[in-house]
């Protein structure tokens, strides 16, 4: 089964959970910027969260089904329609042969996801289908591409209320091994500063700006390059924080003040430009509790899926429906 790409935004790539095991060769994990969205899409289609989906940064595209198939839409909410009729985001839908799915610009958040029933079946490189454009693995999806998926059958017309994560907020962080390079006054100021997401952001990292001074570490231009992990908050030479995302470098010399917890990384990646961000230090014990809760939330997602009730506003030929017949008078 394939979906023909009739038009596409400039930053759409195939993503799964990424590839691990190549850190020693300098290759970072990549994978979806919003991994929670991968789990939501999987729950909506009753399939594995390991399957690949189309990640659409900022802007979607137009797609034509060659056969009857199922789709789900998750992550940053985007305007979406099938053959001109609006369809609900955070839901799964049937897409029949010849039908066109149009996905517009993100209304809130950054990364929207298009999931196909059976998962996108693209080439696997070093154990993953994830494009890693910084490493020049894979490429962005282009007009005329065909997204194929494995044979699939199952239900659609399901919806899910997503975890709120599209307008910034508090990101929980733990200290990391370079945190002591920052003095107490700097750390205190860091955890009391109101930040906002800057304009510079991609799948490597996102700039977090504030109106005050930068956050420099002592001797920070001469620090030995050291391992980096996604979620690290790296200070550039001028003390500007960047939250590092799935295509980040594997090592680097700019010091990291703290690391955002995995459970808050989807919220970080989905924070729109200008969105307010604060950082809250938690202890490793608290981090463990938060992580356990996150994992059990992920495991419970399939049970939270419910039937999609069509909104009458979304039915274009409403007037042709027989809306009165069958209604029983209350006085009968």
């Amino acid at each position: 089964m394939t979906l023909i790409v009739r038009s596409i935004g400039p930053a759409c790539t195939i993503q799964d959970q990424g590839r691990s095991g190549y850190l020693d060769q300098g290759l970072s994990r990549s994978g979806a910027a919003d991994t929670l969205a991968l789990h939501e899409g999987a729950a909506l289609l009753r399939q594995s969260p390991e399957l690949a989906a189309l990640e659409m940064a900022g802007m979607g595209g137009e797609f034509e089904a060659t056969q009857n198939m199922r789709i789900a839409l998750t992550g940053a909410r985007m305007q979406a329609s099938i053959d001109g009729s609006p369809v609900v985001w955070n839901a799964s839908h049937h897409l029949d042969a010849g039908q066109r799915l149009a996905i517009g610009a993100a209304l809130q958040g950054n990364y929207g996801y298009l999931h196909l029933g059976g998962g996108i079946d693209s080439e696997v490189f070093l154990g993953s289908r994830s494009a890693h454009l910084t490493a020049r693995i894979g490429r962005s999806v282009q007009q005329g591409d065909r997204l194929s998926c494995s044979p699939d059958a199952g239900d659609a017309g399901l919806k899910l209320t997503p975890a709120e994560r599209f307008s910034g907020g508090v990101l929980r962080v733990v200290p990391s091994f370079q945190t002591p390079l920052f003095d107490d006054a700097t750390l205190d100021r860091f955890s009391h500063t109101s930040f906002y997401r800057g304009a510079r952001a991609n799948r490597m990292g996102m700039h977090v700006d504030s109106d005050g001074d930068g956050f420099a570490a002592s001797g920070q231009l001469n620090i030995l390059s050291e391992v980096i992990t996604p979620g690290d908050i790296q200070m550039t030479g001028t003390g500007d924080p960047f939250i590092l995302l799935p295509e980040c470098q594997t090592t680097g010399g700019y010091p990291r003040i703290a690391t955002v917890l995995p459970c808050d990384m989807s919220r970080a990646a989905q924070t729109p430009a200008g969105g307010a961000i604060r950082f809250e230090f938690v202890s490793m014990d608290q981090a463990n509790e938060l992580h356990k809760a996150f994992l059990s939330d992920l495991a419970r997602l399939p049970a939270k899926v419910e039937a999609l009730v069509r909104d009458p506003h979304d039915i274009p030929d409403l007037l042709s429906y027989q809306l009165i017949g069958g209604v029983i008078s209350a006085t009968d």
Binding site: S20, G21, Y22, L23, D24, Q25, G26, L27, F125, T134, A135, R136, I137, V174, S176, F177, P180, L181, D183, A217, S218, G219, L221, N222, L224, S225, E226, V227, T229, G231, D232, T236, G237, T238, Q249, T250, T251, G252, G253, Y254, T259, L261, P262, M284, A287, N288, H291, K292, L295
Partner: protein
């Protein structure tokens, strides 16, 4: 900030990592120790370890926090640290020497003059010294297949730049803190761009995807712009005109 750390030092990295650090400044022995320790972790195949790597002076493991607590992981690493003197471990065998044609300076590598000045040298002297410096792959990181190389002589212990250069191309040879990095792809950097090669460190389209290994040695031999252009036109294998020989001693 005071640094009274006792090395080796075992610490957590983010939420699900741990780091064994053998030194916080670049040293030959700490680099050997990091490589050897990481090899040993790899060999042991601990079920809770999902991934490991070595950086310049540290070995890193990522682990499954649902299988083992942070404290248990740190203790396990401390026990392994105590089992031998990692600093005296020999370099791995099967190392190779690569000679890589390099254009220093010109508009291809516009920060050579700046780097020479920071090192207190004339550009000509800097090129002569750098072109004769036989450097070792200390670690591979930052980007796929990309080596950190050193050590360079102490005069090249120059700091990174305050501001990033927006983009240097693949094959760029950059310099800071007595090390080179040979970039495996176009990237912004805070290191000074002193040389340009056509050597591809990451070759996803061929069998040997990652040509360099930690411990390999490289010589960046001065070449002219014409030579480099000729190499560029005939670079199907990605070697950039580099030759490679076994190190036998």
């Amino acid at each position: 900030m005071a640094r009274h750390f006792q090395f080796p030092l075992v610490r957590t990295v983010g939420f699900d990592g741990a780091l064994v650090t053998f030194a916080d400044t670049m040293s030959e022995t700490a680099n050997r120790a990091a490589l050897a320790f990481r090899s040993e972790v790899d060999r042991l195949q601990w079920v809770e370890v999902t991934e490991s790597s070595a950086s310049l002076g540290s070995a890193f493991v990522r682990f499954d926090t649902q299988r083992v607590s942070h404290q248990q992981m740190l203790r396990k690493l401390e026990d392994l640290v105590g089992q031998k003197d990692w600093y005296t471990t020999p370099l791995p065998t099967g190392r190779r020497l690569w000679r890589v044609p390099t254009v220093y300076g010109t508009d291809l590598a516009p920060q050579l003059d700046d780097a020479a000045a920071a090192a207190g040298l004339t550009p000509e002297d800097a090129i002569r010294r750098l072109g004769q410096s036989r450097v070792r792959v200390l670690t591979i990181g930052f980007a796929p297949g990309q080596p950190y190389l050193g050590p360079l002589a102490p005069e090249f212990n120059i700091p990174r730049l305050q501001n990033l250069t927006p983009m240097v191309p693949e094959g760029a040879l950059v310099l800071a803190i007595s090390q080179f990095v040979l970039f495996s792809g176009p990237t912004p950097t805070g290191w000074r761009h002193v040389g340009q090669t056509n050597f591809r460190c990451f070759r996803p389209d061929v069998t040997e995807t990652f040509p360099l290994r930690p411990g390999d040695e490289l010589l960046f031999e001065p070449a002219t712009r014409e030579e480099l252009e000729h190499i560029r036109a005939n670079n199907n294998d990605g070697a950039g005109g580099a030759t490679c020989e076994e190190i036998t001693q």
